[in-house]
């Protein structure tokens, strides 16, 4: 979507990121670069380290070592709040919604509109804003005052994505956003990704639905056992090539491990 001019500053560069959990090396020195407005597909088999890498970028996991440069400035995140303040939003695989809180409350969780000098929730504004945001994203949830626990899986995912998108992030990380969705809802999400990236928002998309990647991605980064194995141009890469990189085989038996 966006040309990567040589002189243009990358939106984010992660350099030599390492993270170990006990005896498991989750990340063994990963370097990842994303340009402004670029859509990068992050793929890899289960336990390749995709989610951990993205949690590092979102501030939910503190890496053991490594460097993150955001908009040309070195940054470090002690909490998701730090990452969020820079404009990094993440939609987690496990949805991360509070089932007992209503749609509007989940959309604004952690940054509710307030009144009375910040003491009280501005519930009316919250519902009005929620309605406006959902409509702007073509997300069809008629009522914003029902607990999200009462919604369908697709609706819940839509709320989770809307939560991230509606606050104007610079970098949006989507972890398996389409895994639980019906076909029509997948289309909506892919359209949403295109719309967002056209507004110069960078997107990192983690998915196992490889066919989605070629529809929206500029680059495809393949992870394998805690390392970045390949950085491919989405335009000039075949599905076969991608699959063989994911399973770390040169040729053959490539479909075997996928499903």
């Amino acid at each position: 979507m966006t040309d990567q001019e040589a002189g243009r500053v990358d939106r984010v560069v992660m350099r030599d990121i390492r993270k170990r959990y006990g005896m498991v090396d989750a990340l063994r020195g990963v370097t990842l670069r994303v340009g402004p407005g670029e859509v990068v597909g992050l793929v890899g088999d289960n336990a390749a380290g995709k989610s951990t890498l993205m949690k590092v970028l979102a501030g939910a996991v503190v890496p053991d070592s490594g460097e993150i440069v955001f908009d040309g400035r070195p940054v470090s995140f002690a909490s998701p709040k730090d990452a969020r303040e820079l404009g990094i939003e993440m939609v987690y695989q496990d949805l991360a919604l509070c089932d007992d809180i209503d749609v509007a409350g989940n959309l604004f969780l952690g940054r509710e509109p307030r009144k009375a000098g910040g003491m009280m929730l501005d519930v009316r504004k919250m519902h009005a804003d929620a309605r406006r945001h959902l409509d702007a994203l073509n997300i069809r949830i008629p009522l914003t005052d029902i607990p999200v626990g009462g919604l369908s899986g697709g609706q819940r995912q839509a709320v989770a994505i809307a939560r991230a998108v509606t606050f104007g992030p610079k970098l949006l990380i989507l972890d398996e956003p389409t895994a639980a969705l019906a076909v029509a809802e997948v289309e909506t999400v892919l359209e949403l990704i295109k719309t967002v990236s056209a507004q110069d928002v960078s997107v990192i998309l983690i998915t196992h639905r490889l066919q989605d990647l070629f529809r929206v991605c500029d680059r495809l980064c393949v992870m394998y056992e805690g390392t970045l194995r390949a950085d491919l141009d989405a335009q000039n890469t075949s599905l076969e090539r991608l699959v063989s990189e994911i399973v770390a085989h040169d040729e053959g038996e490539k479909e075997g491990r996928r499903r």
Binding site: R84, D99, M120, L121, R140, A184, E187
Partner: protein, 337 residues
């Protein structure tokens, strides 16, 4: 977008029913406890002569004031899926120490502030271990229950300490404003503030979120540990207030006050429909739950039933409420965990 349009009508129907279910489910237990309360009120009004008198009802409010104050705070703790078992001991310790320091000639205002600060400190310790050190609050507060009761016994050597009736501080427990007992007024104000905080402030929202999906809340950047600690400070503070209410009402601080108080408070909260698993809370339900317990105790005494039956009836009602909670209301989606 075109694809979602085709499913619109269908989806509106499902969400309407979802909303209906959610609303019934959310309020079913509060409605149920309100019905139980009304039935009990009618029953006692007809069976006990002096029950439905203004004097008795005001007296009833004064009796349940300590329970209501602590139950308000306990609603926050239980909403985070925590529990505070130490409130009964904190009541005993704060009442005893209040009487002791007053006997040593402390200024009553200073003594009051010191006792409330002590309660908050006890809550802080509970909260620090539970929230920052991730030790199960059941264990932490069980240990504090023992420590605080022991401290109260040690401080008083087991004797009750009288409080001078001429001090202004006894008005907290015994005074009346326009005929209404001060403890009742205090309890109602605290319950209303609690309701406002739980339903209308970001903090209340985070308390529910912490009990519903704490990890989700943490990822949005909320300091969940601080929220988790604060709710225990609230119960500690509320328990100290209850201790002051009880000691000043009786004009005496006793290390045996508040025995089993924590269970009465938890019963009131759970009766009201707040889920022990967190995430679902009803402050109105807590108020109704506390009233129900008070009406049972008061009514049975007026009927000259042995006071020993009070606990049996209260326990039976709790069991019934939990049973209804998990078996009957679950049908409306009230329980999701």
């Amino acid at each position: 977008m075109t694809a979602t349009r085709t499913g619109t009508s269908q989806r509106v129907v499902t969400t309407r029913s979802a909303r209906a279910n959610a609303h019934i489910g959310r309020h079913a237990q509060t409605i149920a406890i309100a019905v139980v309360l009304v039935v009990l009120l009618i029953f006692f009004a007809f069976s006990a002569d002096r029950f439905a008198t203004t004097g008795n009802l005001l007296n009833l409010l004064r009796q349940i004031a300590p329970t209501l104050v602590v139950a308000t705070a306990m609603t926050f703790v239980i909403s985070t899926s925590g529990i505070d078992l130490s409130v009964g001991s904190t009541v005993a310790l704060s009442g005893s120490l209040l009487a002791i320091v007053l006997q040593h000639g402390w200024n009553p205002t200073l003594a009051l502030v010191a006792i409330l600060a002590l309660g908050a400190l006890i809550g802080f310790v509970n909260g620090w271990f539970s929230s920052y050190q991730n030790i199960p609050p059941f264990i932490v507060t069980l240990a504090m229950l023992s420590i605080m009761r022991g401290t109260a016994l040690r401080a008083t050597e087991g004797y009750s300490t009288p409080i001078d009736g001429d001090l202004w501080i006894v008005q907290i427990g015994q005074g009346r404003i326009a005929g209404v007992p001060v403890p009742a007024i205090l309890a109602v104000i605290i319950a209303l503030v609690g309701w406002l905080v739980l339903t209308r402030t970001p903090f209340g929202r985070y308390v529910i979120g912490l009990g519903s999906n704490g990890e989700s809340l943490r990822r949005t950047g909320v300091n969940t540990r601080k929220v988790g600690l604060t709710v225990y400070v609230l119960t500690g503070l509320a328990a100290a207030i209850a201790g002051v209410l009880i000691a000043t009402r009786l004009s005496s601080g006793s290390s045996n006050a508040g025995t089993g108080f924590e269970l009465e408070v938890i019963t009131a909260v759970v009766l009201g429909g707040t889920s022990l698993f967190g995430g679902r809370a009803s402050m109105l339900g807590t108020i109704l739950g506390a009233l129900t317990l008070g009406v049972i105790a008061n009514g049975l005494v007026l009927l000259h039933v042995s006071p020993f039956y009070v606990q049996i009836v209260q326990g039976g009602i709790l069991l019934l409420a939990i049973f209804a909670n998990s078996k009957v209301w679950a049908r409306f989606g009230a329980i999701r965990k």
